[in-house]
């Protein structure tokens, strides 16, 4: 930062045009001030675009949603807002359907996250060994993640269809079958979890793989010299080294499952999709929000649901943080 000293431009030639001496001295003082300001302020200016964009597309909608949550706003008259205070929150908290959605969201979240991360961990471990055409396998494993929610959900809707669905057709040969997957309370949740697992396992596998490759190889060498089997290496070397990464994937998956929307909406589609099944058996919070806002046209309660979801995420984050602290402490 030596160049930022005020004396550095003592030899600056006067700019074009007639300039008188006193003005020149005055100008130099100004220049140095501007430069000092420049040094301090430009970093902020460089990062300003992000914050401006975030303010406009992140913070403003968030706050405005909160504002709407305190009003009665109908889809048919977005310009008419009527203050109702906490009534919208009161309304959703006393709605049995809201609590169904909360428990569905958590159940589907657990049912999809746990197997997904376990499988991802195993796959990453396999991919971490020397394989022929490893890039090919890694690409293949990421392919489901690259497909859109809509196409994945539509394809799986065909698989899980009650009448003439692929899965029932296969089950038919083993003497089972004729399960109305979307209709049952558990079967519908299983169906949705399968779509989520199928889409996200590859993504998590690659994250684990990246973390595994950062684990020093001498640890493995030392372990194999000691006669540790692959399974033992996995348990005693890989897992402990991966702890922060695992925590990260849990957080990401939790946020993802809180926002689960496309899969339940499209499993049956149409009217039933929008209410999460004929008995709300697979209605998630996002679907509940969507139905309230866009199907029934009541934007106030819909906005209240959005804020309730934020609150739930913050609670989960707090639990996660406490859990993480506990894990770190017990690891020491």
């Amino acid at each position: 930062m030596a160049t930022s000293t005020p004396t550095r431009d003592a030899h600056t030639p006067p700019p074009r045009g007639s300039q008188r001496k006193p003005v020149n001295a005055h100008r130099q003082m100004w220049r140095s001030r501007i430069w000092r300001f420049d040094d301090k302020a430009s970093p902020y200016a460089y990062i300003a675009p992000f914050f401006l964009v975030f303010g406009a597309f992140g913070l403003y909608p968030l706050i405005y949603t909160g504002w709407i949550a305190l009003h009665r706003v109908e889809m048919t008259g977005l310009d008419r807002m009527e203050w109702v205070g906490w009534a919208n929150f009161d309304r959703i908290l006393h709605d049995a359907e809201f609590w169904t959605a909360v428990s569905n969201t958590f159940l589907i979240g657990v049912m999809s996250t746990v197997p997904q991360l376990l499988v991802a961990l195993g796959l990453a471990h396999l991919l971490n060994y020397k394989l022929r055409a490893s890039t090919f396998w890694r690409t293949i494993i990421l392919t489901p993640y690259a497909t859109s929610v809509a196409s994945a959900a539509l394809v799986f809707a065909l698989v899980f269809r009650a009448d003439g669905g692929l899965l029932n057709w296969v089950l038919h040969f083993v003497g089972l079958g004729d399960t109305n997957w979307a209709n049952g309370h558990w079967t519908s949740k299983i169906a949705i979890s399968v779509i989520v697992i199928w889409r996200w396992t590859g993504y998590n596998t690659l994250i684990y793989l990246a973390a595994m490759q950062a684990v020093p190889t001498d640890l493995y060498e030392a372990a194999s010299l000691d006669g540790a089997s692959r399974w033992q290496q996995f348990r005693k070397v890989t897992i402990p080294s991966l702890r922060p990464t695992i925590l990260f994937t849990i957080v990401i998956s939790t946020i993802g499952s809180m926002q689960l929307f496309g899969e339940p909406l499209l499993l049956e589609g149409g009217t039933l999709g929008a209410i999460g099944g004929n008995e709300h058996q697979y209605e998630t919070l996002s679907v509940y929000l969507y139905n309230y806002g866009w199907n029934l046209g009541h934007l106030g309660p819909a906005a209240a649901v959005a804020w309730a979801m934020l609150a739930l995420l913050l609670i989960i984050a707090a639990v996660n943080w406490l859990f993480g602290r506990f894990v770190r402490k017990s690891a020491v």
């Binding site: 675009p49 964009v53 359907e97 009217t271 039933l272 004929n278």
Partner: protein
Amino acid sequence: MRITRTVAGRSRRAAVLVTTGLTASALLLTGCSSDSDSSDTSSDANGKITLTVADFGQFGYKEAGLFAKYHELNPNITVKEDTTAEEKNYYPKLLQQLSAGSGLADVQGLEVGRIKELADTKADQFADLSKVIDVNEWVSWKEKQATTKDGKVIGAGTDIGPMSLCYNTELFKKAGLPTDRKEVAAKIAGGWEDYLKLGEEYKKKAPAGTYFMDSASAMYNAVVSSNAKQYYDESGQPIYKDSPSVKQGWDLSAEAADKKLTQGLAQFGDPWKAALRKSTMATVACPAWMAGQISIAAGDANKGKWDITTAPGATAANWGGSFLGVPTAGKHVAEASKLVKWLTAPEQQAAVFKAIGSFPSNKGAYELPDVKNAKLAYFNDAPIGQIYADEAKSIPETVLGPKDAVIKDTISTQINNMEQRGTSPDKAWKAATEAIDKAIG
């Protein structure tokens, strides 16, 4: 000297970068609010304009070749259609666009279940079509639905859905029932109770794996549609809980579900289409536009097996039917209104009827040979023009409400639960009323 120059240069570059960055992000921020109105570009120096028509489902204009014909008659006008498959997705978008005053097409399709809500809340954003069309050309109740309290007409009627009964003659024969149109009509002349009795008769000798009707919710819709009073009273109060027509429809559906007369398939879904292909249901409550749906789903293999007769009971019913409205936010309101007048004129409605079977709402069309003498080859040459035109005359003037579509949907879902899951009528009714109160409130 060298040093200072580079420093000055760097700082200037930095200033330029910052300014560019800020300008770029400012542009990005304002970009979404800037008015990128596309209708400006739809009119070029030669006065040629492009009119856009946004609709849902199947309006049949493309199938009848009407947009191309309009371009032939008016070489300076090109019509483009933007179709959303499900009205359920179309309507919220329309409301948003109306609120924003942008993104609207020159002509917008409006569904009958929504017309009341639009007339109540959005009338000021639609052109008054009563200055362009003669409302007396329509069947009396149709244009009234799109008329506001102060006499403004926000939509010109397209089709209506006079009710009939479609039945599978092959299955009827196997179950020992009459197959002739008149004989079937006589059996159910007493109303929907007779229809259920016929169902029990069918069930006694029915071929294995077949059902009397496709879905109880369809029958419910047909029953309610034949009444003037449905979900709201004239003053706009929701009365669905005590409405006699709703109660009648609900009780009949519960009975049908209880007696297992229905296959319990949600209409227009893939399983429903598959069932039609495999001929597992004997009857379908049949608004005019339904015949087309059945023939497409059941396929050529079942051609001639189906027939059409009058719906149960003496009072006719109407199910469905849409309107075309012209938003005032459009750049070509006058031209769009002319297009709407042309599209809903008798000749064009008759052409749509011929192409996809949507029945005209413009009375003038009933005298045209394309409608009057129309027979459906697929349905054993049923004289549909005559059947539907007769029905259309006795359809009662229904009282519409703002949330008709949502109420109908919600009740249908619960009827579906009774059929498929054996949910008790009391429990289903409770669930339906809770959901409806949430929707209305």
